[in-house]
């Protein structure tokens, strides 16, 4: 009995020794690279943690500069810089330089369409300059808010701060886009500076331009719809007619940095498609075509807030 028990114990001890050796081998196999840091002791671990925290830290001042002020000139700088030898312009951020370009484009447009006296030109330029300075002050205030600020993504407070920062970035971009909107000083001065005939000519030109831009977007989107649905001429004319009649207040004098985004433009057309009377649209196509067309209108409807955030529409048309 005792002998049997001893044999069992010997066998168990042998098995244990073998298994412990196997565990040691397995342990060596499963050891990962990052184990070294743990083995190296607490000071190194702290250094790594600090390094990781630094990696998760973002300088908000620099991020603001990069995302708001240093936009690229998507139009390739076709327009010359404003005259007047303003030496400060060389050092000003790209966003403000781009705003000046838009101002010059607008002014040149007014000049070409309805002609301006020297005094009218001066008044309009002054109003634009005033709008740009006001914008610059607002942006500077935002710069001061974030100068030297940083957030740590690994902390909830840092993530919240980052979200607030992103909202401010969006506000800045919107503000730049809306620089010469209907509520700007330029828009107010324009309506009082031009005489009745000039104003009528200018307004008609803007309307015509906006309508052409909308037609171009509609025709481009219709080509995709046509390619998808296999429309006949009658169907095509019906849908295009409905869309052309649904013209939104498109922005026609955007910032040079506003590159054409065909996806946004297409979605804008689908969004307007979704606002057309469904019965009229449905009656223009076959049930099979409607199954696909309805999907497009639903896509457009779902994109409304996204489209509005892109700044492709004026707040109110002049």
């Amino acid at each position: 009995m005792m002998r049997a028990r001893n044999r069992w114990l010997e066998a168990a001890a042998g098995r244990t020794a073998w298994l412990l050796a196997a565990c040691a081998v397995a342990g060596a196999v499963v050891r990962a690279d990052d184990d070294h840091a743990v083995e190296a002791g607490p000071p190194d671990l702290r250094a790594i943690q600090q390094q990781q925290q630094e990696q998760n830290r973002v300088d908000l001042g620099k991020a603001l500069e990069a995302s708001v002020f240093e936009g690229t000139n998507g139009r390739g700088g076709l327009r010359p810089s404003p005259t007047g030898g303003d030496t400060d312009q060389a050092a000003e951020p790209a966003a403000l330089a781009a705003a000046r370009q838009v101002a010059e484009r607008r002014l040149a447009r007014v000049e070409e369409v309805c002609g301006l006296s020297e005094q009218q030109g001066r008044k309009l330029r002054l109003a634009m300059e005033s709008d740009i300075r006001r914008l610059a002050e607002e942006l500077d205030a935002m710069r001061r808010t974030y100068a030297g600020e940083s957030v740590n993504f690994s902390q909830p407070a840092g993530q919240r701060k980052w979200q607030e920062f992103q909202q401010d970035v969006q506000r800045c971009r919107q503000r730049i886009r809306n620089l010469f909107n209907a509520d700007s000083l330029y828009a107010k001065v324009l309506s009082t500076t031009l005489d009745a005939a000039q104003l009528a000519t200018f307004t008609a030109d803007m309307r015509e331009r906006r309508s052409f831009r909308w037609k171009a977007l509609v025709v481009a989107a219709m080509q995709k719809i046509d390619n998808s649905l296999g429309l006949d001429q009658k169907q095509y004319d019906a849908i295009e007619g409905l869309l052309l009649a649904k013209e939104p207040p498109l922005r026609v004098d955007g910032m040079p940095s506003d590159r054409e985004d065909s996806h946004v433009q297409q979605m804008l057309v689908f969004m307007m498609l979704s606002e057309i009377d469904g019965a009229a649209l449905r009656s223009a196509v076959s049930p099979r075509q409607w199954a696909t067309l309805a999907t497009l209108t639903n896509q457009g409807k779902a994109m409304r807030s996204f489209i509005e955030a892109q700044g492709v529409l004026e707040k109110s048309a002049p």
């Binding site: 244990t16 196997a22 499963v30 700088g77 076709l78 052409f212 831009r213 171009a216």
Partner: protein, 284 residues
């Protein structure tokens, strides 16, 4: 004591088992990857542009292995493109159905089969061009259109043929009009055209329109030297209608990003979004 030893054995056994499971898992994963690769090679497909109906396992020789891998990639790409091109076929069949409704079930099957073959051929040609450097000239939509039209031809009445051809011509005319408007929109954005300039350029473009121009115009958002590609191929229809300021800007734009000048060709694949669902009227 014995209980302690037994416990120690149990714990050790667990550690060993875990290690064995881990090692087996890794081995199994490696085996599975190898089997996956063989699985890709296994299905029989039609001879591709590189030839060969069925591939064996990856060869040992590095040069042969590279060729083998290339063939796998081409095959995979071809399959994906076939899926990509199927909506084009359903659109073409919709046009055919709407104009040639008297087709017999047998004729429909033949047209569908011809269309499917065209989809495969278009995918094959596209892949061949992608894998060989050079300008892409394949036009999948045109290939599929031509195949469907040819398959319809023996089965339709004279009235249906006339209606079908008229619809096709109208579609081409719509595409060309869209391209012209796209060119003018591009010019308008860059050069600030007046209404009369837009009209004059559009009239000139229509008068001198070349079929190839329709394929050069794109809306992909590509920028060359910070400009969109300039439609310099249509310069004779544009330059005479610009004022001095615009002519200078047009020259600068062409110099920096003229489609012809920089050799830009907008002949990539264009996805038109969700297409029509498969139509059982054509058979399975």
């Amino acid at each position: 004591m014995a209980r302690a030893i037994r416990t120690c054995v149990d714990v050790s056994t667990c550690g060993v088992l875990a290690a064995v499971v881990a090692i087996c898992g890794a081995w199994s994963a490696a085996t599975t990857r190898a089997e996956d690769l063989r699985g890709i090679a296994a299905p029989a497909v039609q001879a591709g542009p590189e030839g060969g109906d069925r591939d064996e396992a990856a060869p040992e020789d590095p040069a042969e292995a590279a060729a083998w891998l290339r063939k796998q990639q081409m095959r995979q790409q071809r399959k994906q493109l076939e899926q990509f091109f199927m909506p084009i076929l359903w659109t073409e069949l919709e046009v055919a159905r709407n104009t040639c409704s008297s087709l017999s079930p047998e004729a429909r099957k033949q047209v569908l089969a011809a269309g499917r073959t065209a989809v495969k051929n278009a995918a094959e040609e596209q892949v061949a061009q992608q894998f060989k450097a050079g300008v892409r000239t394949a036009d999948p939509r045109r290939m599929i259109q031509k195949a469907v039209a040819a398959a319809l031809e023996p089965h339709v009445t004279a009235e249906e043929r006339t209606a079908y051809e008229a619809t096709r011509r109208q579609r081409v005319a719509r595409r060309d009009r869209a391209a012209r408007i796209r060119i003018i929109a591009l010019l308008d954005r860059q050069l600030d055209l007046t209404g009369s300039q837009r009209q004059a350029i559009e009239a000139d473009l229509e008068k001198r329109w070349q079929e190839a121009w329709g394929r050069e115009v794109h809306d992909s958002g590509v920028q060359v030297n910070n400009y969109p590609p300039a439609p310099d191929f249509a310069d004779p229809c544009i330059a005479p209608h610009l004022n001095e300021r615009q002519r200078e800007e047009w020259a600068a734009w062409r110099e920096a990003a003229g489609s012809q000048r920089v050799g830009f060709h907008a002949r990539g694949l264009h996805h038109d979004g969700q297409g029509l669902q498969a139509d059982n009227w054509w058979g399975n």
